[in-house]
C-alpha cells in the first residue's frame, strides 16, 4: 500500500474517531504526550485500523508492538508492516 494512503487512513481514524485536530498529526507527534491518547485508546486505534486496512491483529505478536508505539511514525510503520507493500498481510 502506498505510504500516503497509510498516512491518510491513520489520520482519518484519529480525526473521525478520536476527534483530534488534523494540524496536530505530525509524524513525530507522541501518541500519549502530544495527542492525549492512553492505553485504552491504542486498543481502539488498533481495532479501527483493522477495519480500515483489512488486517488482523495477532495479539501474540502485535500486542507488545502496539503497547510500545509512541509516535505516529511508529503507527504508520506498524500498518505498513501489517498490510505489506501490495496491501496484503
Amino acid at each position: 500500500m502506498a505510504g500516503h494512503l497509510v498516512i491518510e487512513g491513520v489520520h482519518g481514524i484519529l480525526v473521525e474517531e478520536f476527534e483530534l485536530d488534523r494540524a496536530d498529526l505530525t509524524p513525530q507527534a507522541d501518541l500519549y504526550n502530544d495527542l492525549g491518547l492512553d492505553s485504552l485508546d491504542t486498543v481502539d486505534l488498533a481495532v479501527a485500523m483493522e477495519k480500515q486496512f483489512g488486517f488482523k491483529v495477532d495479539r501474540a505478536v502485535d500486542e507488545k508492538v502496539i503497547r510500545e508505539m509512541r509516535t505516529l511514525e511508529e503507527v504508520y510503520a506498524f500498518v505498513r508492516d501489517k498490510v505489506g507493500p501490495g496491501g496484503e498481510q
Binding site: E19, G36, L40, V43, D44, V47, E50, K51, K56
Partner: protein, 412 residues
C-alpha cells in the same frame, strides 16, 4: 450522636421532555405526554412484544457535548446521568474546589448498565462468536455501577462512591444513602440520583410479567393511566435525575442556597414476592419515613405517588395511602401519565418536578386518570392543575424485587 441536617442545593434533570429542568416543568404544566410508538424501531428485533410504546428523550442526544475522553466509557445511561449532574452542580455552585476536596461523594444508581451496550456486546459474542471489533471500554458502559463510576471519573470525585441498584427505586434509595452519609458526617456533599435508558429489552421484561401497557398502542398518549379504571400497565421511559445533597452547615459556609430540607427517608423490602406489591409492605415504608421525620400524616401536604399504571401496584399503593393518611386528606398525583416510567431515574426526576411545583405553588394532576379504578378510590386525586401552595411532601418509589423507598421533603 446528633445527626447533621441535610438540604438540597442543586437539581438537574434529563427527562423525556428534554435536557434540563425547564422543559420538564413546562411540559408538566402544559399537561403533555412524552409517550410515542416505538414499533418501527422495535418490531424488527422483537416481533412478539405486546407493548410498542415508550417515552424516549424527545431530542437528539448531542454526545459530542461530552468530551471524548469522558464519553468513551459511557453508554447512554451514563451520558444522561452526566448531563443531569452537570446541571445540578451548576445550580449548587459546586465547582473544582469542592469536587477535589475529600468531603464530597456520589450515590447514583440505575436498574442496570447501558442496555444498548449490553446488546452490542452479546450480539458480538453470541451471534458472531467473536469479540474482535468491540470497543475496549464497552464493559465500563454496561457494568452496574456505570453511572456512579463515570460521574466520579468525569468530575474527579475520589471519596465515597456508592451505586445502589434497586430497579425503579434506585434513585430514591441512592438519595437515601446520600442522606445517611451526610447525616453521619462522613461527607459534606453528595451527588445523588439515578438514571436509566429506554431500550426494547427493558420494556420486554415488563411485557414478560404482563405489566406493560398493551391496549393503547394506537393511542400512545392515553397510557399509562395511573389509578384509572382502564389502566393496563406501564410504559418505559428514560432519563436521569441528579440531586445535590449537602449538610446544612456546609451549605451555609459556602453561601449556597438551600432549596429544600430532607426531613425523613425509609427503605424496606416486601420480602415475600418479586413483582407483587402488597399494601402492608408499602404502609410500613410510609410509616417508617414518617417516624424518621418525627411528623404525623397530617403534616404531609402532597404525595407524589409511584403509581405506574399497573393493575395491582396502583391498587395496593392507593390502599396503603388510604390506610396511612385516611380518606381524601392529602392531595395525591402520579407523574407517570406524562413521563412514562423512567425506572431508576423516576424517583429523582419526579422529586425534581415536585420541587418546582412547591416553588411555583401548583400541583400537577395525574394525566389519563378519568375514573379511579377499584381500590383506587377514596384518595384526593389531583385530576386538574391545582394552584395551591404547599411546603412538605412525600415522594415514593416501589420496585421489582419488592424494594420500597420513601422520602419526605420540605421546600424552603
Amino acid at each position: 450522636m446528633s445527626l447533621n441536617k441535610v438540604v438540597i442545593t442543586g437539581v438537574g434533570v434529563v427527562s423525556p421532555f428534554g435536557i434540563g429542568k425547564a422543559p420538564l416543568d413546562e411540559a408538566l404544566l402544559a399537561g403533555r405526554s412524552a409517550v410515542v410508538s416505538r414499533r418501527d424501531l422495535w418490531e424488527e428485533k422483537l416481533s412478539d412484544l405486546t407493548c410498542w410504546l415508550g417515552a424516549p428523550l424527545g431530542e437528539p442526544l448531542d454526545v459530542k457535548s461530552i468530551p471524548r475522553k469522558l464519553r468513551r466509557s459511557m453508554g447512554r445511561v451514563a451520558m444522561l446521568a452526566y448531563l443531569a449532574t452537570t446541571e445540578a452542580l451548576e445550580q449548587a455552585q459546586v465547582g473544582d474546589k469542592e469536587l477535589s476536596s475529600d468531603r464530597i461523594g456520589i450515590s447514583f444508581g440505575s436498574t442496570i448498565g447501558s442496555v444498548a451496550s449490553i446488546e452490542e456486546f452479546f450480539s458480538a459474542c453470541l451471534e458472531h462468536r467473536a469479540i474482535g471489533g468491540l470497543p475496549a471500554n464497552i464493559f465500563f458502559q454496561f457494568m452496574n455501577h456505570t453511572c456512579a463510576a463515570n460521574l466520579a471519573h468525569a468530575f474527579g470525585v475520589s471519596n465515597r462512591v456508592l451505586s445502589p441498584s434497586a430497579a425503579c427505586a434506585s434513585s430514591l434509595q441512592a438519595i437515601g444513602c446520600g442522606i445517611e452519609t451526610i447525616e453521619q458526617g462522613r461527607q459534606d456533599i453528595m451527588i445523588c440520583g439515578g438514571a436509566d435508558e429506554l431500550h426494547m429489552m427493558v420494556s420486554a421484561c415488563f411485557d414478560l410479567v404482563h405489566a406493560a401497557s398493551h391496549g393503547f398502542n394506537d393511542r400512545p398518549t392515553c397510557t399509562p393511566r395511573p389509578f384509572d379504571h382502564n389502566r393496563d400497565g406501564i410504559v418505559c421511559g428514560e432519563g436521569a435525575g441528579a440531586i445535590i445533597l449537602e449538610s446544612e452547615k456546609s451549605a451555609e459556609a459556602r453561601g449556597a442556597e438551600a432549596l429544600a430540607q430532607i426531613e425523613g427517608c425509609a427503605t424496606t423490602c416486601e420480602g415475600k414476592h418479586m413483582a407483587q406489591p402488597h399494601r402492608e409492605s408499602i404502609v410500613r415504608c410510609l410509616k417508617e419515613a414518617l417516624d424518621d421525620s418525627g411528623l404525623a400524616p397530617g403534616d404531609i401536604e402532597y404525595v407524589s405517588a409511584h403509581a405506574t399504571g399497573t393493575v395491582e401496584g396502583d391498587r395496593e399503593e392507593a390502599r396503603a395511602l388510604q390506610e396511612v393518611f385516611g380518606a381524601r386528606n392529602v392531595p395525591v398525583s402520579s407523574l407517570k401519565g406524562h413521563l412514562g416510567h423512567t425506572l431508576g431515574a423516576s424517583g429523582a426526576v419526579e422529586l425534581a418536578a415536585c420541587l418546582s411545583m412547591q416553588k411555583g405553588g401548583y400541583l400537577v394532576p395525574t394525566r389519563n386518570l378519568q375514573e379511579p379504578g377499584e381500590g383506587c378510590e377514596g384518595l384526593d386525586h389531583v385530576t386538574g392543575l391545582r394552584r395551591v401552595g404547599f411546603g412538605r411532601f412525600m415522594k415514593s418509589s416501589f420496585a421489582f424485587g419488592g424494594v420500597n423507598s420513601v422520602l419526605i421533603v420540605k421546600g424552603l
